[in-house]
């Protein structure tokens, strides 16, 4: 990445989340800039997914600010906003435990992602006028092209519950992409994938960044993937951020080695 100042898309300041007496996320600062692939790593239970849930509105954070800076639009503070509002603003996510709509077809899953970018209402759906039909067709086409991009076009009319595991993960990404985000949050996209699938995912994520002009923030345990594709890595432990830097800096950081990579050295 060039050193020129990139526009910041997501700015998190002092984000804190308490569950009763438990502080799951403790004043985290984090920024993601345009064209960046950022990674959030840390041992299990470090609060990474909770951080995602706070940022995307599933939880309402108990403290701090989450600011979205969409390009060409005014900054929005989104803590406490509903998840659908945040998605509509342009930040989409996938889930660690796959949450597809299993009784819908693969294509319909992607079409759901188009919901917030289309606007046929009840009356339009019932009368099925020209505008509604055109929009429906556009949705189908858009969804189909996305499926082609992630290599799932042949499964378009298959029920999503019948997909193999790796394909489900890719479908989740396609579904999130359908909302036309400027920032994509991926929660362990490579979990349960074999090395070959992980390599494909690696290429897919880079393609999304380069072709789709979408910045990416991902949680991942697969260090090879993280070190390969990330521009910046943020490390969390016990709810606190302990390091930020390029992959090389993180590899050399003694605190990180102790907290995270060190565990692997022991094993």
């Amino acid at each position: 990445m060039s050193d020129t100042q990139k526009q910041v898309l997501l700015e998190v300041k002092g984000l804190t989340m308490d569950f009763g007496g438990l502080r799951a996320v403790d004043s985290i600062d984090l920024t993601v800039s345009a064209g960046e692939i950022a990674a959030l790593i840390g041992p299990n239970g470090a609060g990474k997914t909770t951080f995602f849930n706070c940022v995307t509105g599933i939880y309402t954070p108990t403290g701090g600010d989450v600011l979205l800076h969409p390009q060409g639009k005014p900054t929005r503070r989104v803590n406490g906003k509903k998840p659908n509002v945040i998605t509509t603003l342009g930040m989409a996510r996938t889930f660690q435990n796959i949450r597809l709509f299993s009784d819908m077809t693969v294509l319909e899953n992607v079409m759901i992602g188009r919901h917030c970018r289309t606007n046929t209402g009840l009356v339009g759906a019932i009368l099925r006028g020209a505008a509604a039909r055109r929009e429906e067709q556009e949705t189908v086409e858009f969804g189909y092209h996305l499926l082609e991009q992630v290599g799932l076009a042949e499964f378009a009319n298959e029920y999503s519950k019948n997909l193999p595991y790796g394909a489900m993960r890719r479908l989740e990404i396609a579904r999130a992409m359908a909302t036309e985000p400027f920032l994509l949050l991926l929660d362990e996209p490579a979990a349960g994938m074999n090395p070959q699938e992980t390599d494909e995912l690696d290429a897919l994520i880079c393609r999304i960044r380069d072709e789709g002009k979408i910045a990416i923030l991902l949680i991942e345990h697969d260090m090879k993937l993280v070190m390969n594709i990330s521009d910046n890595i943020h490390v969390m432990e016990y709810g606190k951020k302990i390091a930020t830097g390029t992959p090389q800096e993180i590899k050399d950081n003694p605190k990180v080695i102790e907290a995270y990579l060190g565990e692997e050295a022991d094993a």
């Binding site: 509903k82 889930f95 299993s102 046929t120 509604a132 019948n162």
Partner: protein, 407 residues
């Protein structure tokens, strides 16, 4: 040998269970107890045989499941019947045939048959309406009959006090049903699953209790009589002609319901409902407004109940709160579950079976509830997805793609 023992045990168990019913009979006039020992034999033999059939069906079902699991590629192969259903031209011919049959029905059969058919059609619309809430959006509603009552009382009261006619009240009933749907929808936006079911159950009870006790408003348990039948340009009609007329109104309403729900099902809104049913969190994370989606599902479901409520009041010309008990809600829900959640054809079949069977099997009316219960248990074990499971629309792309490339 093991099977024999099991079946024997089952037979004995059922002999024990049905003993008070089948064997002991108290003759109240002579004050003696009759012991009908022969019945033991019948019960025993029947259940002995049935348990064998039962076991055979279970084994077959498991075999099918295993086959589906092992053969990765052929999971849930559609049955012959479902393939037939997807054949468009056959479907149109079938629909035309059904429509022709429905249109000549009142001329072929007598008024009694038409009356039964009208009530079955009312339940078809109720089932299709509830299908939106329960089948598509996955919001379990145990108080659906409340909206039916709202429609019926709307017509009865407006007719009684202001002399409003059937055709004015039909859209009014639908609108009122929808409004009540929204009223119910607001407090339960945050609830799901069991809690939702309990609240809707309560709502159904409240409406009935209000109708029973607020006598100044609803005339209490004695109900409202002499409700006008639907008019046709001020023509005077005898009961037979009027029944035929209502029959045709219901046919038209059923067709309207089928078209509307069918279109909704495969639209942007319908997809949002199904997504809500499948996974609420993923649904909102994909940018769908949960409050709006839930509300529209409730309001639209309730709308149909309000509308046919008006027809119901006009058909019976007399309504009282006794027509709107929890039992009715349960029957409508059974129609949806038995027919197949989300499937339009399934719900229609379900309504026909559940409403017409008891009418034509009056001879066995004592055993109606037993048959009903047994049918439900058998269905849920062997075909939990209902008579006809919901098939999602398949989309064709090749044509579309070429089109988009040409543009």
């Amino acid at each position: 040998m093991k099977n024999l023992k099991q079946s024997l045990a089952v037979a004995l168990w059922f002999i024990f269970l049905t003993f008070p019913l089948m064997v002991v009979k108290v003759n109240t006039s002579d004050q003696v107890v009759q012991w009908r020992w022969m019945n033991i034999l019948w019960v025993g033999v029947t259940f002995f045989v049935l348990s064998f059939i039962w076991r055979y069906a279970l084994v077959r079902k498991e075999a099918r499941q295993m086959a589906a699991l092992s053969g990765q590629d052929e999971h849930e192969k559609p049955t012959k019947f479902q393939e037939l259903l997807e054949d468009q031209s056959l479907r149109y011919r079938l629909m035309l045939g059904l429509l022709a049959f429905a249109l000549v029905f009142p001329w072929v059969f007598d008024t009694y048959q038409s009356t039964i058919m009208v009530s079955a059609l009312i339940y078809v619309v109720l089932g299709l309406g509830l299908n939106i809430t329960v089948g598509l959006a996955g919001l379990l509603d145990l108080g659906y009959v409340a909206f039916f009552a709202v429609g019926a009382y709307a017509y009865a009261l407006l007719n009684h006090h202001f002399g409003l006619g059937f055709w004015t009240c039909l859209p009014l009933g639908a609108a009122l049903g929808g409004i009540f749907g929204v009223i119910l929808g607001f407090p339960i936006l945050r609830l799901r699953g069991d809690y939702l079911a309990i609240v809707t159950l309560g709502f159904g009870m409240i409406v009935k209790v209000v109708l029973e006790n607020w006598s100044e408003f609803s005339f209490g348990p004695s109900g409202i009589a002499n409700i006008d039948r639907p008019s046709l340009f001020g023509l005077d009609m005898d009961i037979a002609a009027s029944t035929t007329y209502i029959y045709y109104i219901m046919i038209a309403l059923v067709i309207l319901t089928i078209i509307v729900t069918g279109r909704l099902k495969n639209s942007r809104i319908g997809r949002a409902w199904i997504a809500l049913r499948e996974d609420e969190i993923a649904c909102v994370a994909m940018g769908i407004d949960m409050a709006k989606t839930k509300m529209s599902a409730y309001a639209l479901g309730a709308c149909w109940a309000g509308m046919v409520g008006v027809v119901f009041a006009a058909k019976t010309t007399f309504i009282n709160p006794a027509s709107f008990t929890f039992m009715e809600s349960a029957i409508i829900l059974s129609i949806v579950v038995l027919g197949g959640m989300g499937s339009i054809l399934g719900v229609i079949l379900g309504a026909m079976i559940l409403i017409l069977m008891p009418e034509y099997l009056r001879a066995f009316s004592e055993y109606r509830m037993i048959i009903f219960g047994a049918a439900m248990v058998v269905m849920m074990i062997f075909r939990p997805q209902g008579i006809i499971s919901n098939i999602r629309q398949k989309y064709e792309f090749k044509g579309l793609k070429e089109k988009s490339e040409n543009v």
